[in-house]
């Protein structure tokens, strides 16, 4: 079962993502801030991290950067969700080596297919 960690300070958003991922076969973990998200990621080694950018404690970019620079989490994919939707945000996402970038508002089905897509690219060890 694929493990997905959702980090967003908006409860409604988390619920939405959880509700969406319920359709697929995922184990879903939740965090409401960046610091917790990073800790959980290190502990749980999820297959995918869905990160909001604007989070208390640590931004999604920072979490992504740290995840990507960690050997233990090298297989963890990162999807960045941002409500800002500006060009600069997308660039920043690329800079921190996020695997994918989605801007809010997003279609849950699109998110689902994107998640499936990212995870299917994963090469099993």
């Amino acid at each position: 079962m694929r493990k997905v960690l959702i980090a967003d300070d908006e409860k409604a958003l988390r619920m939405l993502i959880v509700g969406t991922l319920e359709i697929g076969d995922f184990e879903v973990l939740e965090a409401d801030n960046g610091i917790d998200a990073l800790k959980m990621a290190e502990n749980e080694c999820p297959d995918l991290l869905i990160l909001d950018v604007m989070m208390p404690g640590m931004t999604g970019y920072e979490v992504c950067r740290q995840v990507k620079s960690s050997d233990a989490l090298k297989n963890t994919k990162v999807l960045i969700l941002t409500a800002k939707g500006q060009e600069s945000d997308k660039r920043t996402a690329e800079e921190v080596h996020a695997d994918c970038y989605l801007s809010k508002p997003f279609s849950p089905m699109e998110l689902l297919s994107t998640v499936e897509d990212i995870l299917s690219r994963q090469v099993p060890i």
Partner: protein, 901 residues
């Protein structure tokens, strides 16, 4: 010596003067003689005219007479008797006499026949034979008659008588004779002679006894030479005079008559003239001497006065020279004064000019200083020639000291440590400084000591005839514009974020609802989320619209009178369900019934914004106190939290729209940045003001004021009872309790009723706080952690007069009621207790507290003294209890908490 010379000089002058006078006299005498002669000549001429006139007239008349006579004689030659003829002739004689008037005397008339015999002779009107006409004369007459021809009349004078002759002819033209009329004449002159053109005297009248011929002159006192000279001069000259031997003067005048030239001579006696002259000379000499004597006298007098006058004149001269000097000095002074006046005028003009110039300069300076940008000018050599105030302010602030640069290069070098990209900008500026025609504009970011942005514009200064005389630098602070830009892009980003977040939920969940079949409870949950998010979105849009409306002044405020109590109730109602970490405390300080005129909804919005901000920005929880106090004419409402506080540099901009404190801690705190801006607009529209006080990291406090409505406003308020209760609770309550959950319960209960609360968990802190804050009631637990238990705290309270009267409610799990009441404790509350129980007890204690007990020794004197004192202070005594050896005086006490007795 000098005087002698002086006299000699004067004497010589007099001599010369006298001589001059003498000669002048001589000249005058000679002149006189000449005048006499001229007079003679004039007389001669006059005589000449007379003679000529008379002569001619006489000749004419005689001619007529004679012709008439002749006729008479000839016609009556024989027949007429002699008497008759005589008569006729006599008549003719009287006629002639008439003609000669009184100048001559008619002597007689002769009539001669052609053979020369006298036919008729009349003497004095009577013919007389005794005086015949000499033959000689008759001969002459005949000769003359022949010479002149028939009918001519002529006259001759023999020295005593004038003979007028006329030839007479018969009707046949035969010469019949001569008629001669002899006229004797008196003369006024010494002599009168007439000569014919041959020099013969034709007429002579004596006294001069003149001769007829030149030869005869001699006989009449003329010498030979003299006679000849006279004759030659008479013959040659027209008129003149000559001196005769005897000394008389002859004046001669020619007379032309009947083709003959006659000369009239007038003789004057020279001696008479000489005598006259001599007399005159004597007289003149006498006069001269008199004049000389008088002159000497006068001279002497003059000399004396002259000496005086000389001295006086000398003095006068010196006076004059002094005066002149004085006048000169005065002139000079005047000139100097004029020059001074001129100089002064020039000075005043200069002053005026300079004032005008300064005024102009000031004006320009003011203009240049108030353009709001910095201006500096350099000359061609790169020296700074001018900077305005704006420029100085910018760079003094940047360099942190006075800027006094003469060289622009040094000035530019100094920029190095203060601006970003100085390694690019400084060389560029230096290049421009040397450039004479490039115009350039650049932005410059100041990085120290503050972050600021400048726009620097530079252009060459071009004067008349395109002469470049330097360069101008204009430096404007565009930090504000930059900030606005930043705010704007941040706003877009924020708005975008704030809009997208709820939109994500709404769209996402609605999509899930559409695509999936869900369990009913899940369905409900999702729809609720959609609803909430949509509401959130609506609020956001509402905020946008609010601020837009308020800023454009279109917001209408429906003001009505409400009490602060109402406002506070509303606020409390809004935040009834806040999370456990935060506590909301209200302190009305007796303002519950104060009325303000406001738009309740809008003020509610302010309260809501401020309280939710306080909650949002105190993520670690803590008390949020809402207080209201009267400050002058206003009610001041304060909302204090114990949260993050506000950074110093953000305070100014707090109320700026879309401003949000840019900080990691705050990232997670959502918001549009509009809340405070809306608050400010609302409060300002109510005539109040809003501000913040904060220490970064130690919480913040926001205050706003509202003007108190007029006291005569009446208000009906259903919650009035409650308010009156709370009015007495203007001081907070203290809870001394070490059980946190119990503290929360107690505080919650009390705050729910509008009481302000403080809580501590040990006795030491409690005592410390009691001394800092005045509490209304203290709820005290007995079993406390730490060195002090409840009893210790109570004892300490009662030991101090300031705190001795604070009501204390003991709350204990132990059964200590008796012990407690014996220690002057208001109430005892046994744990566990109900919230209502506590509340009632607190209220009861407060009611009790409106009276005050005084305990004193039962001494009559003391009692009287105390009562008198109380009366003087206008404190009413409620009751006096006598308990044996002590008395308890209960005072009606609202405002007087302590009375020492």
């Amino acid at each position: 010596m000098k005087r002698l010379l002086y006299f000699a000089g004067i004497f010589a002058c007099i001599i010369i003067f006298s001589l001059y006078i003498n000669s002048s006299f001589k000249l005058i005498i000679e002149q006189d003689v000449k005048t006499q002669l001229y007079n003679d000549e004039a007389v001669a001429y006059r005589l000449k005219d007379q003679i000529t006139g008379k002569f001619l007239n006489a000749r004419q008349d005689i001619s007529f007479l004679v012709s008439h006579l002749d006729k008479t004689l000839s016609s009556e030659d024989a027949a007429q008797p002699l008497e008759n003829r005589k008569h006729i002739i006599s008549k003719a004689g009287s006629v002639i006499s008439d003609f000669f008037n009184h100048n001559s005397i008619y002597k007689g008339i002769s009539y001669l026949d052609s053979s020369g015999n006298e036919v008729l002779h009349l003497e004095d009107g009577i013919f007389s034979d005794q005086t015949p006409i000499p033959n000689k004369a008759g001969e002459v007459y005949f000769q003359e008659a022949e010479k002149h021809g028939a009918g001519q009349v002529y006259a001759s004078f023999d020295g005593s008588s004038l003979y007028v002759c006329s030839t007479m002819y018969t009707d046949f033209g035969v010469f019949s004779g001569l008629a001669v009329i002899k006229l004797q004449k008196e003369t006024l002159l010494s002599g009168l002679q007439t000569f014919d053109d041959k020099g013969n005297i034709t007429l002579m009248e004596d006294t001069g006894a003149y001769i007829l011929k030149p030869a005869e002159f001699k006989g009449n006192n003329f010498t030979e030479d003299n006679s000849r000279e006279l004759l030659s001069r008479i013959l040659s000259a027209q008129s003149g005079n000559i001196e005769t031997e005897k000394g008389s003067l002859l004046t001669y005048v020619p007379i032309d008559l009947d083709d003959h030239r006659w000369f009239l001579l007038v003789e004057s006696d020279r001696r008479k003239v000489a005598d006259y002259s001599a007399t005159l000379q004597h007289r003149l000499t006498g006069l001269l001497f008199a004049v000389i004597t008088i002159t000497f006298g006068l001279l002497f007098l003059w000399y004396r006065s002259y000496k005086k006058a000389l001295l006086a004149r000398e003095m006068e001269r010196q006076n004059k020279s002094l005066e002149a000097l004085n006048a000169n000095l005065i002139n000079k002074q005047n000139e100097l004064e004029e020059q001074n006046a001129l100089v002064e005028e020039l000075n005043s003009q200069m002053e005026e000019e300079s004032v005008r110039y300064l005024h102009q300069k000031d004006k320009l300076q003011v203009i240049v200083d108030s353009v709001g940008v910095g201006i500096a000018m350099t000359d061609k050599e790169g020296a700074i020639t001018f900077t305005n105030k704006g420029w100085n302010v910018i760079f003094e602030h940047m360099y942190g000291r006075n800027i006094e640069y003469s060289s622009a290069v040094n000035f530019i070098d100094e920029l190095k440590s203060y601006i970003r990209d100085s390694e690019l900008i400084i060389p560029e500026l230096k290049r421009l400084l040397a450039d004479s025609d490039e115009t350039c504009s650049m932005e410059m970011e100041q990085i120290s000591p503050l972050k600021r942005y400048f726009k620097l514009y530079t252009a060459p200064c071009i004067g008349e005839s395109s002469r470049v005389f330097g360069r101008i630098f204009v430096c404007g602070d565009i930090s504000h514009e930059k900030e606005v830009d930043r705010l704007k892009s941040e706003l877009i980003s924020t708005v975008s974020h704030e809009l997208r977040t709820p939109m994500s939920s709404i769209l996402g969940f609605s999509e899930l609802l559409m695509t999936r079949s869900l369990k009913p409870e899940r369905l409900k949950e999702y729809i609720e989320i959609i609803h909430n998010e949509a509401r959130r979105l609506t609020n956001l849009i509402g905020d946008f619209l609010d601020i837009q409306r308020m800023e454009s002044g279109k917001q209408a405020f429906n003001k009505e009178d409400v009490t602060i109590g109402n406002i506070m109730d509303d606020a409390r109602g809004m935040f009834r369900n806040i999370d456990a970490a935060h506590r909301l405390a209200f302190y009305l300080n007796g303002t519950g019934s104060t009325i303000v005129a406001c738009d309740t909804d809008k003020i509610k919005q302010v309260m809501s914004n401020l309280i939710s901000n306080a909650i949002k920005y105190s993520p670690d929880g803590g008390e949020i106190s809402v207080s209201s106090t009267i400050e002058g004419d206003c009610i001041q409402i304060g909302i204090r939290d114990q949260g993050l506080g506000i950074p110093e540099d953000a305070k100014d901009k707090l109320f700026t729209k879309f401003f949000r404190v840019d900080n990691d801690d705050r990232r997670k705190i959502g918001g549009t940045g509009l809340g405070l801006a809306i608050c400010k607009e609302i409060v300002t529209a109510h005539g109040g003001r809003i501000w913040a006080a904060s220490v970064h990291g130690q919480g913040s406090a926001f205050y706003f004021t509202l003007p108190v409505a007029k006291s005569d406003s009446t208000i009906t308020n259903p919650a009035e009872h409650k308010i009156s209760q709370e009015t007495s609770g203007n001081k907070p309550l203290l809870i001394v309790e070490d059980d946190a959950s119990l503290v929360k319960l107690i505080c919650g209960t009390l705050e729910g009723e509008g009481f302000g609360t403080y809580a501590v968990n040990n006795g030491k802190d409690a005592l410390k706080l009691i001394h800092e804050i005045e509490f209304r009631v203290i709820i005290l637990d007995i079993a406390l952690k730490g060195s002090l238990n409840g009893w210790d705290v109570l004892n300490a309270l009662r030991a101090d007069v300031k705190t001795a009267n604070i009501p204390v409610i003991i709350s204990s799990a132990y059964e200590n009621r008796d012990q407690a009441l014996s220690r002057d404790v208001s109430e005892y509350l046994a744990k566990p207790f109900q919230a209502n129980q506590l509340l009632e007890m607190v209220k009861r204690v407060m009611d009790l507290k409106s009276t005050v007990n005084m305990v004193a020794n039962n001494d009559e004197k003391l009692q009287k003294y105390i009562l008198a004192m109380l009366k003087s202070k206008k404190i009413n005594v409620k009751s006096i209890e006598n308990n044996g050896d002590i008395i308890t005086i209960t005072l009606d006490k609202e405002e007087h908490d302590t009375v020492e007795g």
